[in-house]
Symmetry: C2
Subunit: 149 residues, 2 copies
């Protein structure tokens, strides 16, 4: 089995292609794709608890902490102690952050609209089904249990 | 359009799920998934030119350099000047590297076999077709050109 023939290699390589594409777009607006993705996950009005950002984005807390620090320095976000629960910190968008968020959102919509216009609806449905099946098969956690390999 | 509804979010989140799964397996053998992936891309007998590893793995040269440095410290690879072209460096696997490579290969095969046994062949074919279509649509580079958005 060559790497190019594996299911994981193909998912990974398409994801990296998408990431590079978004990074080119993001760079034109002085941000990175990672920035855009964090911004999209922060609620415009209510802000978002810092602890819920990691799970939302599938990021580990160490790399999220670094990203949030960078975003604060770029003045697109700020932190505030939660009014309801003083132990929690909420992340809010600055005005600049809201602008950059809007641009990121546009890019995501443009990309997805372009794909949906050019892919067959039925095939895309199957595509989502297979992604869901793969997720379930991983969650079942039976893959590496058998001794016969 | 909620992030969970976008095509890119779903590809990314399945890729991250696969990466976490591989990382759990890799950790049991004292390596990381990134290590395993580099090892898999090095030819056991001939070694592999350092310059061709980046493109093969879709990694940027800066993060590849760091990874290779780590792998050298872990004594799974070593560098040698290319005999044919003294300006080039080839990466070779140590005996330990070959062992770890074999384990990584087994894991990839186990995962892919499990998926192929549990997914419908026809749906998987469509899945690969859609990934290919997405790659082509990105390569065409028409997505962000239009003004009407």
């Amino acid at each position: 089995m060559k790497p190019e023939e594996t299911i994981d290699f193909n998912i990974r390589s398409t994801w990296h292609k998408i990431a590079r594409m978004y990074n080119v777009q993001a760079a034109q607006h002085g941000v990175s794709m990672a920035t855009g993705m964090v911004l999209l996950n922060i609620d415009i009005k209510e802000g978002t608890p810092s602890t819920s950002l990691g799970p939302k984005m599938g990021m580990e807390s160490r790399s999220l902490t670094r990203t949030l620090k960078n975003l604060e320095e770029e003045k697109v976000i700020y932190r505030e102690v939660d009014k309801e629960d003083k132990r929690k910190v909420r992340i809010f968008l600055t005005e600049l952050g809201k602008e950059k968020r809007e641009i990121s959102k546009e890019k995501v919509i443009q990309f997805n609209n372009h794909l949906r216009q050019n892919l067959k609806k039925k095939e895309l449905d199957t595509f989502f089904k297979v992604l869901g099946d793969i997720n379930e098969l991983i969650d079942e956690n039976h893959i590496f249990l058998s001794g016969d390999h």
